[in-house]
């Protein structure tokens, strides 16, 4: 069992009346690639800045490798940061930028030279030593910022939307690169992003944040396949939610009856003891069939009418109106049906089926008034 590297305990940060971070509790394991994911303004940067020592929490505790660092200034923490717009020192060469931390720690010149050279190789920028930050591209600046932080061999590296300023192609490339470097150096990365795809590509675990608190924490698959709140279901991809009342359980599946009297099933472990839930299903998990077709045993099925079809090349996106009036999004790979005549057309009646194992459950808790306004 890996050691806990960073621990946040009931951390609160207020700016005046504004609660930016609300009783955040979090354990981050040694060597993991951990992401804080959430919309702009949800408190990701503030959380990161408290770990880095740039903000002091209003209350709560921050531990680094078992040591309470809550009140330590940044230069006394074994943590380094890759800033949102890199924050390279414009008056120093790339070499001096990367060497900055080692020199402050009083490392000998020969050792500094060896490690800077080694680090510039790791980020694939050998030969850039004498350039100034204005003489390199955005992607290269990004690598320098990474080298400048990593060279200090911190216990934890904090990255605040480090790829935000790069174009899409470069961003994809850097995602792979970052993951490679992280595995090579084995340092814990805490990565802040609002891009769900980016978080899913790189992270071992993700904490989805909303309005200063963590909505759900888990590995990318479980967050996508089994989101437990409406917010997470909506933030990570598209989801269809069908509200209903729990009717009963037959062993491993619970039956949920919807307003239009049709019923669907979901793993009972997810339903727990709740009475009112919403059953969710991802668009690519649903199959569309002729109304007369046979549904595989035990699969959920509801009937509906196709309202819209958009051909996207790799797949077709349908909007289907269920009998009860709910609109569901369905993706169908363009394998069996490829020509316009073969695709489902608006107005056609269809059967939507999916395995109950692909159902997830979202509970609309009557949470206290603090964040009662859960986004739809």
């Amino acid at each position: 069992m890996p050691a806990v590297d960073v621990r946040l305990l009931e951390v609160v940060k207020r700016f005046g009346d504004m609660v930016a971070v609300d009783r955040l509790t979090l354990d981050i394991q040694d060597g993991e690639f951990f992401s804080l994911l959430g919309p702009s303004g949800c408190g990701k940067t503030t959380t990161l800045r408290m770990i880095g020592g740039f903000e002091e929490p209003t209350s709560g505790l921050i531990e680094l490798q078992g040591e309470d660092v809550t009140w330590l200034p940044p230069f006394k923490r074994n943590v380094n940061t890759v800033f949102q717009n890199y924050a390279l020192f414009p008056h120093l060469t790339i070499y001096d930028n990367v060497a900055f931390g080692l020199r402050r720690k009083g490392v000998k010149d020969a050792e500094v030279k060896r490690r800077v050279t080694e680090m510039l190789e790791l980020v694939e920028l050998p030969g850039f030593e004498r350039r100034k930050p204005t003489q390199i591209s955005g992607g290269q600046a990004q690598r320098v910022a990474l080298a400048r932080a990593l060279i200090n061999r911190p216990a934890v590296l904090l990255l605040d939307e480090p790829l935000g300023a790069l174009d899409l192609k470069l961003r994809k490339q850097m995602q792979v690169e970052l993951k490679r470097i992280q595995q090579e150096v084995g340092i814990t990365f805490i990565y802040v992003t609002h891009d769900q795809e980016e978080a899913m590509t790189m992270s071992d675990r993700i904490a989805v944040m909303n309005q200063g608190h963590i909505e759900q924490l888990g590995d990318p698959e479980s967050l996508y396949e089994r989101p437990s709140t409406r917010f997470v279901a909506g933030f990570l991809g598209i989801s269809n939610l069908l509200p209903g009342a729990v009717e009963g359980t037959d062993g491993s599946y619970a039956t949920v009856r919807m307003a239009d009297t049709s019923s669907v099933r979901a793993p009972s472990a997810l339903v727990g003891s709740h009475a009112d839930v919403s059953i969710g299903v991802r668009p690519e998990k649903i199959r569309l069939r002729e109304p007369a077709d046979r549904t595989p045993d035990g699969h959920n099925q509801i009937t509906g009418v196709v309202r819209d079809a958009s051909y996207l090349g790799v797949s077709t996106q349908y909007v289907v109106e269920a009998r009860g009036g709910a609109r569901l999004t369905v993706y169908e790979q363009n394998v069996e049906r490829t020509t316009r005549a073969e695709l489902w057309a608006p107005g056609e009646e269809v059967l939507l089926t999916w395995s109950p194992d692909h159902s997830f459950v979202v509970v609309d808790q009557p949470t206290p008034a603090v964040d009662g306004s859960t986004p739809a």
Partner: protein
């Protein structure tokens, strides 16, 4: 239109260039000619390649040249020592009061330059609000103690006069420093800077005290004030060292300071050039012995009608300033000042 695009910048510069040609270049040419002429106001001037004007001007007023250099330099140094923390405070801690504070910095300009200097005469005067209280009420200083008429009063006037010229460029340079660079430095283990800060602070403190006492005429060895003088300088150095050790951090030395150097350069020049050529402050706040080269030039031009000497002095001053700026730029590092950084 597009074919003549290259003309546009020149057209935009034309009014300024014409202005400079008419009111700077032409008078200067005339001055060069005058500085090499002989004759008198009644008989007229004849151009004669008379370099004696220069040799004479240089040799005859060594004290005035020295005064100019020392007072101008001191004013610049003290403006910097006062102005840097001021600009730093406004730029980094001003918050929503920034504009108001900047307005206060330039507020004195709304009053006539002459009136301001005259009011300093009153402020520093023997019966002025400060000295009268210190001398009469508390009896801290001897009864014949004066500030007005000393070099200190002249330099104090210069400092007051030109402080905004130091603060504004410094503010501009400091204001545009990305605050995250300082966070980045702190993230990369830049902490306090106790030893260096103590050294820098004590040098500054010692220099300021030494300068104030010298300016007041308290440095004369005959009066046996050496011990007192040394003690005061040491005390100043101690206070400065303490302030430096606690206020100067490594992130300041490594990031803020180098990035503000262009502002230091601009501010120093804007203070030094007018200060070194000033004559009004000496007239109103100084004494005959504290006359600067500006007073001599003014006197030669307007009272003695010795135009060639006055012109030669002006050019010597100009050359001196140019050389000083050149050396200064070299010391601060030309790349910092001209390098095409954003």
């Amino acid at each position: 239109m597009t074919r003549h695009r290259w003309l546009l910048p020149y057209l935009l510069m034309a009014p300024g260039l014409l202005w400079l040609a008419a009111f700077f270049v032409l008078p200067n040419i005339q001055m060069v000619l005058m500085s090499l002429s002989t004759g008198s106001i009644s008989q007229g001037w004849t151009f004669a390649w008379d370099f004696d004007n220069y040799l004479g001007a240089f040799g005859r007023f060594p004290d005035n040249f020295r005064n100019s250099l020392v007072y101008g330099g001191m004013a610049t140094l003290v403006c910097f020592l006062i102005g840097y923390p001021m600009a730093y405070g406004i730029a980094f801690r001003g918050g929503r009061y920034k504009t108001l504070l900047l307005f206060l910095v330039i507020a004195p300009f709304f009053t006539s330059f002459l009136i301001r200097t005259i009011s300093w005469r009153i402020l520093l005067g023997d019966q002025g609000p400060f000295l009268a209280v210190v001398r009469n009420t508390f009896g801290v200083v001897p009864a014949n103690f004066s500030v007005i008429g000393t070099p200190l009063a002249v330099v104090a006037g210069l400092i007051y006069q030109f402080l905004p010229f130091m603060v504004l460029p410094l503010y501009v340079a400091l204001e545009k420093i990305d605050k995250r660079l300082i966070e980045a430095a702190r993230d990369l283990y830049a902490g306090p800077w106790r030893r260096g800060g103590a050294i820098a602070g004590s040098i500054a403190g010692g220099v300021v005290v030494a300068f104030v006492l010298t300016g007041l005429g308290y440095a004369s060895l005959e009066e046996g004030g050496v011990v007192g003088f040394a003690a005061a300088v040491v005390a100043g150095a101690a206070v400065g060292g303490l302030i430096g050790a606690f206020l100067i951090s490594e992130s300041f030395v490594r990031v803020t300071w180098p990035l503000s150097v262009p502002g230091v350069f601009a501010g120093s020049i804007l203070v030094f050039i007018p200060a070194i050529g000033d004559f009004v402050n000496v007239e109103l706040l100084g004494n005959p012995k504290s006359q600067m080269i500006g007073n001599v030039i003014q006197n030669r031009f307007l009272q003695q009608n010795d135009y060639p000497t006055a012109a030669a002095l002006s050019f010597i001053l100009m050359a001196g300033i140019l050389i000083a700026i050149f050396i200064y730029a070299r010391v601060l590092g030309t790349e910092e000042l001209t390098g095409g950084r954003s």
